[in-house]
């Protein structure tokens, strides 16, 4: 089904610059006269600011300026609400967005309080030591359930509550379903998803050129167009006076979205004020405190089933930690609420979401964006049900899969794109079968596991399914142009942070124009090249931008053939586009380069109603997302002395519709799984009761290395999305979503003789030790 370019494992256009150290990252921008910023951040989770004394900092040689909230005047404003609450009946939503510098009170450790600008970063950091802030510590809000007790301290006093939002969504009648059930299982679940920890920290360079009256900003953002429009408005400039460039970005995974982070808002302001280029680069410690997290939820979930394992309904009440502010609205908890339903045909659902303010770093999407939490709850409920009913765990899933003839399938709950969650297409059973085959399910359980157990080894298998709503609107656009050199230029508004857009987007164009991928130059994330679009998030690049590029390339193809048809006096249907040339059936030909020259004449007239050039701009706005799906399976071995868990085998079967570049998709899956492995056993955000972050370095927050990430075997199922012409679905997040659910199942299986029931993730050797001790005590006592 693959085309000459589309669907091929083509090597990446972006590699040579990256491999030779020539690619430009934000911190590589160096401008004459550039000054450097450092921020003094709160050491307290919750405190009133009595006074700030910056006088000694101002005296330090090399310091150019020191700014507190008061010094910002009218520019001091809470940031924008990036995603408004969804249109759900009786919704409660309290908007409290982050401020550029804390005023009156600090609400989390790491919140910026004072900004110092100096001739060098070293001096700016020295000056932070000179500043004295007099704080009056307040009791912090740390635990999300205690936060809602009547006498809890308040993150935002004026609200009178720490409840940021409550959303109840329903499908069918859960109570009626429960009344008919043979079994009802209810449990409390705890799921903590960590932080993105992209290898590159955030950074921003702003350069106001007073003579040109032009602001250029290099920003590690996933959404340069949104940032440009917002900053222009804030700074009182015209949008055409501001250019935001998202250059090469060292990974993003969510938190580099259009946050209007305090630093993002302040650095351009400072450049405008000082009339000098200004740079701020986050260090790793700051990244832990000041770049958004994802963190934990607590679910009280219940599932009602028939004796033969059919789901009649699911009920869930959950608590979500949003941190000190909620600028990204409800995207993360809505994803949890919706994705919990998974690939299953669930007639009744009742879900109550409670979003809670705490004195911690802001929570916004990080790869998976709340979907992990929902998948974990559902998959664990099914595991427990399977055990209780004596049904094989893959069989209970198979019985409840939405059958292929039931698509499009309406879940009736409102998703993060504000329309009811309807799955476009899917075929889940073949994916499960393939995963079982690749992990050798039957043989492992019947032969391997008993044999290894007899040898005293603790080995177990985990296998889970999931769906992922991807590629949501509102829209993206693209411009495709054949240049007079015959090379093709493609521009789109989405940013790129390692997703290989320079290649996969070129492949889409190549398929239409039959030009070597290396001769197609893709520009992403530069508002001077393309200034419409929303950004790279929700696994939407290949779907939304991809289809816009496809549409533009098709239009250009039409123009090419039209122009050639005029040249040769032959109808377009009789022409063939091949290797950068248009051929007639009788062997005449003309190159794209020559056609581009002819399409932009220097004399004569362009016909009325036509446009010069071989260029087209098109947009794609999907009414609904495309639902990707898959199954993950793994085999683990647990060392019951050291509580170490080794993943012996890992299998992913995924369905992301039509694949543009299989090599790239495989890379995305590997990377996703690696993050999932981290989320299962290594990475954990730990706050103590004072709201202090205890894991703010790579020595404490453990990213998996090559020693921990297992080899991953990938199998493919392809169910194209009927809702976009390319048939693509997003692939960016899937790898990271179900890993912990599979991991916990496998660990439980490996420790079957202890009769463990694990209702939380992540695990760690320590935690596993505690759980085993509890289980032993229960058994004995």
């Amino acid at each position: 089904m693959a085309g000459r370019y589309f669907g091929q494992p083509i090597r990446r256009n972006e590699d040579p610059a990256l491999l030779t150290g020539q690619a430009l990252f934000t911190d590589d921008v160096h401008l004459p006269g550039m000054v450097h910023v450092a921020f003094l951040r709160s050491d307290y989770a919750h405190a009133r600011i009595r006074s700030i004394d910056v006088s000694r900092a101002l005296e330090r040689p090399g310091v150019i300026g020191v700014y507190t909230a008061e010094d910002l005047g009218d520019y001091w404003q809470p940031g924008p609400l990036l995603v408004p609450p969804p249109p759900v009946e009786d919704i409660i939503f309290h908007q409290r967005t982050q401020v550029p510098l804390a005023k009156g009170k600090v609400r989390h450790v790491g919140e910026p309080v004072v900004m110092v600008v100096a001739e060098s970063r070293y001096i700016a950091e020295d000056a932070l030591e000179d500043i004295f802030v007099d704080y009056e510590p307040l009791p912090p809000v740390v635990d999300i359930e205690k936060a809602l007790e009547p006498d809890a301290p308040l993150v935002h006093e004026d609200l009178g509550t720490n409840l940021a939002a409550r959303v109840v969504q329903r499908k069918g009648d859960y109570e009626a379903a429960k009344a008919k059930a043979d079994v009802v299982i209810s449990r409390r679940f705890y799921y903590d998803h960590g932080l993105a920890a992209a290898m590159e920290n955030r950074g921003i360079v702003a350069h106001w050129d007073p003579k040109m009256q032009y602001m250029t900003i290099w920003d590690t953002t996933q959404a340069p167009v949104v940032i440009r429009n917002g900053l222009a408005r804030m700074l009182g400039l015209s949008e055409s006076q501001v250019r935001v460039i998202a250059p090469f970005i060292g990974g993003a995974f969510g938190p580099k979205i259009m946050m209007f982070y305090p630093e993002e808002v302040l650095i351009p302001w400072l450049s405008l004020k000082l009339k000098r280029p200004v740079k701020w680069i986050e260090d790793r410690r700051e990244n832990f405190f000041a770049t958004t997290h994802e963190r934990y939820q607590v679910h009280y979930a219940e599932i009602a089933l028939t004796r033969d394992g059919r789901i009649l309904g699911v009920k869930d009440r959950f608590y979500h930690d949003t941190g000190a502010y909620d600028p990204y609205g409800l995207t993360v908890p809505i994803n949890s609420q919706c994705t919990l339903l998974g690939p299953y045909d669930i007639p009744a659902y009742h879900s109550e979401m409670n979003v809670v303010f705490t004195n911690k770093t802001i929570v916004t999407p990080y790869r998976g964006a709340g979907r992990q939490h929902g998948v974990f709850v559902m998959e664990r409920l099914l595991d427990i049900a399977a055990k209780e009913l004596g049904i094989d765990r893959t069989e209970i899933r198979r019985r409840n899969f939405i059958p292929p003839d039931k698509f499009p399938y309406n879940n009736e709950v409102i998703y993060q794109d504000f329309v009811p969650l309807v799955y476009d297409s899917g075929n889940y059973e073949p994916a499960l079968e393939l995963a079982k085959k690749l992990i050798d399910y039957d043989r492992f359980l019947k032969e391997e596991q008993p044999r290894l157990r007899a040898e005293g080894k603790h080995v177990g298998l985990g296998i889970v399914a999931y769906v992922e709503g991807t590629g949501i609107g509102p829209y993206e656009g693209a411009r495709v142009q054949v240049e007079t050199t015959g090379k093709v230029n493609v521009a789109t508004g989405v940013g790129t942070q390692g997703q290989s857009h320079f290649t996969s987007f070129a492949q889409i164009v190549a398929e239409q124009l039959d030009v070597d991928v290396r001769n197609i130059r893709v520009v992403t994330g530069d508002t001077a090249e393309f200034h419409w679009g929303t950004g790279t998030f929700a696994s939407r690049g290949a779907v939304v931008a991809g289809n816009a590029i496809h549409a533009a390339a098709k239009k250009v193809r039409e123009k090419v053939l039209q122009k050639a048809s005029e040249e040769f006096g032959v109808p377009p249907e009789e022409l063939e586009l091949r290797n950068g040339y248009v051929y007639t059936q009788d062997g005449r030909s003309i190159s794209l380069a020559d056609l581009a020259v002819k399409a932009n004449p220097l004399r004569g007239a362009v016909k009325p109603g036509t446009e010069p050039g071989l260029e087209a701009t098109m947009y794609f706005g999907p009414e609904r997302g495309a639902t990707a799906s898959g199954v993950h399976a793994m085999i683990v071995e647990v060392d019951p002395e050291l509580m170490d868990v080794k993943i012996r085998k890992y299998v992913v079967v995924h369905d992301c519709g039509k694949v543009i570049n299989p090599l790239v998709v495989e890379g995305q899956i590997h990377g996703g799984v690696a993050q999932g492995v981290g989320n299962s056993f290594y990475e954990e955000i730990v706050y103590n009761e004072d709201g202090q972050l205890l894991t703010a370095s790579f020595m404490d927050y453990l990213l998996p290395t090559a020693m921990e990430v297992p080899p991953i075997e990938v199998g493919h199922v392809e169910t194209p999305s009927p809702w976009n012409e390319l048939g693509t679905k997003g692939a960016g997040e899937a790898g990271a979503i179900p890993t912990a659910a599979a991991f916990v199942q496998a660990v439980e299986d490996a420790l079957a003789d202890y009769d463990l029931e694990i209702l939380e993730a992540p695990l760690s050797p320590n935690r596993l030790f505690e759980l085993l001790k509890e289980a032993k005590q229960k058994k004995e006592g």
Binding site: R11, L18, L19, H30, N201, G250, G667, S697, A706
Partner: protein, 162 residues
């Protein structure tokens, strides 16, 4: 902190002389004084390996050294791996195996691996994993990096087989 020291260092075959404060990190020196921004900084506390350069032929973390310690020594950064317009077999292998995504960690991996691939004609998977266990990559899950290492070794040591 303003006392300046002279640092004379050879980087990628070129001799540089600069006056720097004793506290200036070698990574900052390479990036901001010499403008060789291919060396990246991911943590500045010695864990991620992004800042790895060759110091007299040995991989070191440039964020854990001061520029003054490099006085009189020889450094190679990613920019020095191959002449302009060309690629070292290791770079070629990374390209062919899709061993990089965002590419931020890549210079650190390349500099860690250069001596390894040159001195290990037949490593096991486990040895390769160990060799890169001090470098963090958040994008690739390492699998394609491991494949790239094998490919590079094939190119370097078994070129007739490649």
């Amino acid at each position: 902190m303003s006392e300046l020291h002279t640092v004379r260092v050879t980087v990628n075959g070129t001799v540089y002389e600069r006056q720097v404060e004793a506290r200036m990190l070698l990574s900052d020196f390479i990036r901001h004084e010499l403008g060789l921004t291919g060396t990246h900084v991911g943590c500045e506390h010695g864990v991620c390996g992004a800042c790895t350069v060759l110091f007299d032929g040995e991989p070191v973390r440039s964020c854990l050294m001061f520029a003054v310690q490099a006085d009189g020594h020889e450094i190679m950064t990613v920019e020095g791996l191959a002449p302009e317009g060309e690629m070292h077999p290791l770079q070629e292998a990374f390209h062919e195996a899709h061993a990089l995504q965002c590419g931020f960690c890549t210079p650190g991996f390349l500099m860690t691996l250069k001596p390894f691939v040159e001195t290990h004609p037949n490593p096991t998977d486990e040895e390769i994993r160990k060799a890169i266990s001090g470098n963090l990559c958040r994008c690739t899950g390492y699998q394609h990096i491991i494949e790239a290492v094998k490919l590079a070794i094939k190119k370097i040591h078994h070129s007739d087989a490649a």
